[in-house]
Symmetry: C2
Subunit: 216 residues, 2 copies
Amino acid sequence: MGRPSSPKLTRERIVTTALRLIDARGEEAFSIAQIARALGVKSASLYNHISSKYEIVEGIRELVAGSIDASLFASKPWYEAMEQWAFSYRAAFARHPNTIKLLSVIPVSSRDTLRMYDAVFQGMLRDGWPKTHILPAVTAVESFVLGSAIDLVAPPQMIAAEQLVGDSPIFLEIVQSGYVEGSARAERAFRVGLAALISGLRDYLASLTPENGAPG
Amino acid sequence: MGRPSSPKLTRERIVTTALRLIDARGEEAFSIAQIARALGVKSASLYNHISSKYEIVEGIRELVAGSIDASLFASKPWYEAMEQWAFSYRAAFARHPNTIKLLSVIPVSSRDTLRMYDAVFQGMLRDGWPKTHILPAVTAVESFVLGSAIDLVAPPQMIAAEQLVGDSPIFLEIVQSGYVEGSARAERAFRVGLAALISGLRDYLASLTPENGAPG
């Protein structure tokens, strides 16, 4: 037997290695040098498979965001589709919370992600959203979802135990009455907030109907 | 003249150095060893001024969250106070976006931060929020605010320019019509979302009035 052959270097291996590093050590672990080191190859070798660091980011985006489900926008009212979309969106990023900032600040070019947005936009347009109002509404839901994904990975109890003796008995009671077991705290806040946000957006849309002078 | 005296090591210098490192290099730069190196001292010296890494986190929380303004909860209806609170909260974290995840997942013990929550809770309680519903509502607003703070540091254009040729003319039109100059894109999404979220929470509160069987 000769020495064990190392697995062939591919774009996929580079991207999954980068995601694994970010999951384990945070966004700062994202560098060509660190990915090459983890794969046991020279940095230059990576460039036989990818054209830039940016291409790796888009590969990571495909892996993380690939499970986001916008399919209901084709068949259901936008507010029902958006609820399902938001749940799957939060779940996708809660599995990889260290990617949230990275993917939020690098422009999207992944074809899959653009197709997902296309499905969302088309559904909203069909249901009467004026074109110029769609992007702010979608961005607002995304901001809520990403903040909630971070909250989902926070500890169940966000006030340090030693502070729970408190000089304010009401403060103490509110903090304790609002806490529920494990991730149910974050779950409840997400459900309450998502329902409120979508219901508020429905009212906002109603206020924009053409008879109120909304632009098309 | 002798050698220049180095500034005295204090808790404040340790905390501001830690925040500067996180701002510049991300959450992963947060380690006792790196803070000591930046200050040109041995790690052990830090422990003459702080008891644990956790105390530094709470010092950072005071610096970042110190400008969040919950004062209106004492005098205005909760929904007006919450709007001002959310704006100052987003501004505070938009100045230090690399701290968002760190501060979201480490339990709060900073006295100033607890006093801020106390002001929020007391205002909501006075305006009829049942105790057990306050924490989920506040958490939902915080998730939206923190996601929006990340969006505020994203580039104005979040779809890569080379993708804007698009196979879907409607997609293209929506992306372009929704974009406005500079940070105004994020600003508009934040205003639309915050108004919708607070309006949805007002309706939610109304549905919880005692005559509807809400717990106190």
